[in-house]
Symmetry: C2
Subunit: 393 residues, 2 copies
């Protein structure tokens, strides 16, 4: 990237986390000399009704006039240089930095449009999407950042931003850390991209190389958080919860070491690793919904419910506690379980497997603690699992 080219940033998505990160990116773009002042934010257009009127109005228009995402991040003022754009083609026109922060199910339809409109040679991406794809042919997990890179083609590089970043707290400016993973070219470019997100002292972004480890942590932590909800419902206290988090981190590291290349042990100690896992296991919707699931089960554990009833129970909880939004943890859990099952690795990942069995196969919630155990140390674990890394077959 030559210095004459300014970064044209486009945020793809405008939900809760997208709007929160827009507060940082907007203020930084206005300040950083190498960025265009205006940051576009693609908005999946919908109509909202404001308290002061009965007439529904378009969300993008509200964002641009009131500088507030009244639906997904109410009460927080967005920087005035954040421009909501409902037309994707227009939003990403000539963009050099794409920030992906939307449900990943949207990607297949959007990526061809994005590819056709961004800056042809100087565009890079950072994904804030928490999830994993699953390749049914190779039976391997696929990183969303890789899916984006492949769809964008032409050597497009996509990193990730992951960390202990509950969106509302970030938006309110409460101090936290975040991890930018990716190597976008050279040190200068890496530092530029870090600066786009960093708002020290309250949003401290550290950069690492290991995209796979950081991104997988973002998906896998939600599985462990389901286990945390089960432990909470069982009334087991702080020791057990800490053991669950520790063993969960080890299973995460083992999974990453086995299925992805370039995973570094240190990643699990970054904000995207242990810090995000801790926050998610103490707060967060996955923990909460799992606690509710377990409480309903514990109320009558004699019924050995089948997969269909489990699904129905999760749907009921999603309807009641999340207004029908899908829980990320159970989605990731089903993907991870397919991978483990197809490779007969359930026994090697006892924690993940037990969380699956409780969530979908009617295993009693009280079995949770049986799976909180590990025989090997962390160091030995990652070394062994890396040496046993699976080749795509």
């Amino acid at each position: 990237m030559s210095d004459s080219i300014h970064e044209q940033i486009c945020i793809i998505g405008s939900g809760n986390w997208g709007s929160a990160i827009a507060t940082k990116i907007g203020r930084n773009a206005a300040k950083l000399p190498f960025c265009h002042d205006t940051v576009s934010m693609w908005v999946f257009e919908e109509e909202v009704t404001l308290p002061e009127s009965d007439k529904p109005v378009k969300l993008s228009e509200v964002i641009n006039s009131k500088h507030e995402n009244v639906k997904y991040l109410p009460g927080i003022t967005l920087p005035s240089n954040i421009r909501a754009v409902p037309d994707l083609k227009e939003a990403c026109q000539n963009a050099t930095l794409l920030v992906f922060v939307l449900p990943h199910q949207f990607l297949p339809n959007l990526l061809p449009i994005i590819r056709a409109n961004v800056h042809p040679t100087r565009c890079r991406g950072v994904s804030l999407i928490k999830g994993l794809d699953f390749d049914s042919k190779t039976k391997m997990p696929v990183l969303i950042s890789k899916t984006i890179e492949e769809a964008m083609g032409r050597g497009f590089v996509c990193g990730v931003l992951m960390g202990a970043n509950v969106a509302n707290e970030v938006a309110m400016g409460k101090m936290c850390e975040s991890t930018l993973a990716g190597n976008f070219g050279d040190d200068r470019i890496n530092e530029r991209i870090r600066q786009v997100f960093d708002e020290a002292p309250n949003f401290r972004v550290a950069r690492i190389d290991d995209v796979a480890g950081a991104e997988a942590c973002g998906a896998l932590k939600n599985i462990v958080a389901l286990g945390a909800g089960f432990v909470d419902a069982l009334g087991l206290g702080g020791n057990t919860k800490a053991a669950l988090i520790r063993v969960g981190l080890l299973d995460m590291a083992k999974f990453c070491g086995m299925f992805f290349e370039g995973v570094e042990q240190g990643t699990f100690l970054e904000s995207c690793g242990m810090a995000d896992l801790i926050t998610t296991c103490y707060g967060g919707r996955n923990r909460k919904c799992a606690e509710e699931f377990a409480k309903l089960r514990l109320a009558d554990e004699s019924i050995n419910i089948d997969q269909e009833s489990c699904n129905a129970l999760w749907t009921k909880i999603e309807t009641e506690l999340l207004h029908g939004q899908k829980l990320q943890g159970t989605l990731a859990l089903q993907e991870v379980h397919s991978i483990l099952e197809s490779r007969k690795l359930e026994e090697s990942f006892r924690l993940f497997s037990m969380i699956y069995n409780i969530s979908f196969k009617g295993e009693p919630v009280s079995s949770m603690t049986d799976a909180i155990q590990v025989k090997k140390s962390f160091t030995e674990m990652l070394r062994r699992s890396s040496s046993r890394r699976l080749e795509i077959s």
Copy 2:
């Protein structure tokens, strides 16, 4: 140790944690073929009054007749083979395994008596004491286990048992993990000693070699927990707390790497490391008292209080919340700060130093977040600090 010698176990101490671990040790000794059935527990004799009578009775007699430590672990039945002994000489007579679980201020007076009475050649120890000594001459931290080894002489080996082990939860049989650190001779002996403590599935003990790392974690975590209390009082939420815990673990690792030999990175991922730190930062008395301290300060931060007023405030909190018991975190903090100050290392340990300055030098509580930052990755941190390890001068 030949197979013909049975382990004669003596627990030195009978407080809350001592009584809790006695439930595990007692049941194990009764079951394990290489242990004498009876386990003696040295009780610092005091008089207690039972609800059914007005006449005070001796605590040791109550423990032996009711099999319950009515004062320090009420409601939990101790195994009947735990024998409370108020006379130290009698308690440790011919002992081959000493379990130290008492305030470490008691040690200087007790160790000569213990040394003179245990089995002359076959005795080993495991310390459950959480604290650090400070050598005012060398200005170096001293492990309690080392103090014990030196006082016992004759090649006495002392390991430690540390972990996310809130005593009451352990006593109630709620599932947790613990870390036994020490190398007591060979694999067989190590496994024997592990089995004395382990009560799987609810008390899972893993053994590692690194005594220094495990023991120092047990003391240093209480310092970080004070910071957690400050963060809680500031109402900063889960992201900030997770960042504090993460950066706290890094400072702990850095401190250990700099001041002790043989510290292994993996130790910080064992139960004695991250798991104990998490439990202590969410529950625990150090967090709670620090939250109270911060709330009192925040109620009137305009007063720039001096060290004396800070001390008075802590004493008031100890009186009100701990019935006058001393907080371990502030004691460890003062020891660690003496070390850092005398070596001009305050800037290298910004988190510990800020917690000290808030606790004892009138620094505003709101400064806490300024110190939750780290520039280097965990791996790099430990590597660098080890290479800069200080020699005893």
